[in-house]
Symmetry: C2
Subunit: 425 residues, 2 copies
């Protein structure tokens, strides 16, 4: 695998140094291939689907595995829009005139070699592969075994698209087996970032298996806090949407925190949740007003149910709600429901999570909804990128200095003085 990663590094440097039009050209060709090679793709996918049916794979997994002409058309449109969109490589971020004839520019640059580990959905090969081409990054792609045939064909299309634009196909590589991934995770001098897309256990396993930075989140234990001044109708709407819009998502609400003064209105919220098929697990104070439901234990406060189950805890104050969030949460997304602007401002100021909302469903924490375009992932880390991550999360910077023969000694000696004039980019 060291040779593969090393070749990817060289291919990435060529990809990044190429003019933007070459990356656009590769993407345009990829869009065409998604049409012209539709039969190859669907045939490979059919083989994966047949194997999945034989192996009795769970129905939702089979659904995610399945490619259709419609899904391919959506992928093609996405790739085409990237092809015609702005190219970030070399974009200036900051210009400073250090002195006459000494101009500093900070520009966007690709991170380098990315290792993407994903499950089930073969669409990810094209979504991530096309983002990588646009941003000048190389990708090593390890998909789930169940999608092996589909992924192989799709990675082949990425390589063909790169070649057709005169770029090295080694910037997009499929990784076949787990042993390959384990070997790659040890190559911290050749791989710059690992992006696992999948279950929390996958992410945790990878985080504990490598020194390479990992972008993502292992858990999404998100909270909706019903403040003393919450509007009861809105409280019900946002509790139901936060839990039920897509219970398996990382940004689904797992715990409802309820201010003691809101308790009289809690039964209405509980009814709405039960009507939506949600099982409640509540502490004593909540059970006293919402009637028969299971008692929550401390374990519930740490649990990402991923299902129509919701824990409910009563708190004495906004500060107590925030303390609960900091103690049990995963720093992903929390929302306060309140008509009290002062309470909302305080919540937004003091909650230390990637996304903090007022009167909106936790489900909005998402790159597409944030308007970031394609989503690379959602990070609960505090380094590099936090929260929903778009293509900017695949970029770093370089500093370019254009001089006219200056040595640093002239400035340390005082013979010359820095101007440090900030200029528009």
């Amino acid at each position: 695998m060291e040779n593969t990663a090393s070749a990817a590094r060289a291919a990435q440097r060529q990809l990044a140094a190429a003019p933007a039009q070459d990356r656009s050209e590769a993407l345009r060709h990829l869009a065409v291939l998604l049409d012209t090679r539709q039969d190859d793709i669907l045939t490979a996918n059919a083989a994966d689907l047949a194997a999945a049916a034989r192996a009795d794979l769970a129905a939702p997994l089979q659904a995610r595995l399945k490619l259709t002409p419609e899904k391919l058309a959506t992928l093609r449109d996405g790739v085409r829009s990237l092809a015609e969109g702005a190219d970030p490589v070399g974009d200036p971020l900051r210009r400073t005139l250090l002195d006459d004839g000494l101009m500093l520019t900070q520009v966007k640059a690709p991170i380098g070699v990315l290792l993407i580990i994903f499950e089930s959905r073969p669409d990810a090969v094209i979504q991530i592969g096309s983002l990588a081409i646009r941003s000048g990054n190389a990708v090593l792609l390890k998909g789930g075994r169940e999608a092996a045939h589909s992924n192989a064909v799709l990675v082949g299309l990425l390589q063909e698209a790169l070649s057709s634009a005169g770029l090295s196909p080694e910037a997009a590589v499929g990784v076949a087996d787990r042993a390959g991934v384990a070997a790659l995770l040890a190559l911290d001098h050749l791989i710059d970032l690992v992006i696992p897309r999948g279950s929390g256990s996958l992410v945790k396993h990878i985080q504990s298996s490598t020194r390479i930075p990992v972008l993502g989140h292992a858990e999404g234990v998100c909270h909706t806090y019903l403040d003393a001044a919450a509007d009861p109708t809105m409280a019900a709407t946002l509790s139901v949407d936060g839990k039920c819009d897509y219970p398996a998502a990382c940004n689904a609400t797992e715990t409802l925190l309820v201010h003691r003064d809101f308790l009289p209105s809690l039964p209405g919220v509980a009814d709405a949740l039960r009507e939506a098929g949600v099982t409640l697990r509540a502490d004593e104070a909540a059970r006293a007003v919402i009637g028969d439901c299971e008692a929550a234990t401390a374990e519930d406060w740490r649990t990402e149910y991923g299902d129509r189950v919701l824990s409910v805890a009563v708190v004495d104050s906004l500060e107590a709600a925030v303390a609960h969030i900091h103690r049990y949460g995963s720093g992903h997304t929390e929302s306060i429901v309140t008509d009290d602007e002062h309470a909302a401002d305080r919540f937004l100021t003091i909650v230390d999570s990637a996304s903090v909302f007022h009167n909106a469903s936790t489900r909005f924490a998402d790159g597409y909804r944030y308007g970031l375009g394609a989503e690379v992932g959602i990070s609960t880390g505090r380094i590099h990128a936090r929260g929903p991550v778009g293509v900017d999360g695949l970029m770093t910077t370089r500093w370019l200095l254009r001089g006219s023969g200056q040595g640093a000694g002239e400035y340390s000696s005082g013979a010359r003085t820095f101007q440090h004039r900030s200029l528009p980019v």
Copy 2:
């Protein structure tokens, strides 16, 4: 140490949530303490200096250890300027109207708990501690044993300054011994970033001992490339400045790459270097024109001499120079000397290093020279921050969403559509 780090996390959240004026007030008080407690500081420092003299510490280390009223005045002025400067916490970076009454703001937020490991210079306690207060971060400070008395007094001043502004003093903590550092390096859930300031071996040791992200660089193997079209006088100036302005610095030039066509002018460059006291170690092609000097081995190309020693390699093309840089360099800083604008542009485009220069000394790669204000460090990593890092390197972001009761379901169902309108911040 877990309790210390956990208390630092809580103190950091309070520090970050406090109004900017509290952080300013703490900094103002710190500036005052640097004057009023000068005797305490100098007495403690004298004890360290006496121990250093008894232990026969190297003269440059003793010099770096020594505090003077002048150094303290400089520190005080730096702290005062931070106190009156802009506060980054909560600064908006991006505003997007997702829909009517649904406004997303991305704001700057402190990273969290920083572990700073530094050698010798006790000034670092105040420089880094004051940056941390300004940026809302907590710091665990582990200085060198030789500065133990000075560091203890200075950390005490940080704590006193925090307390005087009603902030928790646990946001600045001194770490006494190595065992403490080892314990802290294991706490990746409580410490967000490690910043080692010191020798390459210190940095390497830390990088290999922790899963916490490390900001910094272990090596600075920087190159100056004398292109075919280099002006001979400028080539001599920049070679001498790059090597000699401060040979122990990470941004000093370690290898001179020389285009074959420049060889006739190389003797002049070699003379200038030798006159500046530089010992050359060259490959065969260079030795043929610059006369008697030691033969460079492959090991030289990877060596950061940190001294007035310079290796010289002849290359056949700009591409060969870049290949040498990518193979042996550390991705820190490289400079091309040339009058050929096309060659300069190509070099700036294809060299994959944090800083890439044209006709300027590699010594310019520095936060102060870049106009970033106080320098946190220089990073050769590609994640989070690259190159010279100012206070921005201590910040991450949070996403704040202010709604009016929206659920995500209304948008997935198509009942409502996102506007995604970018607004000025």
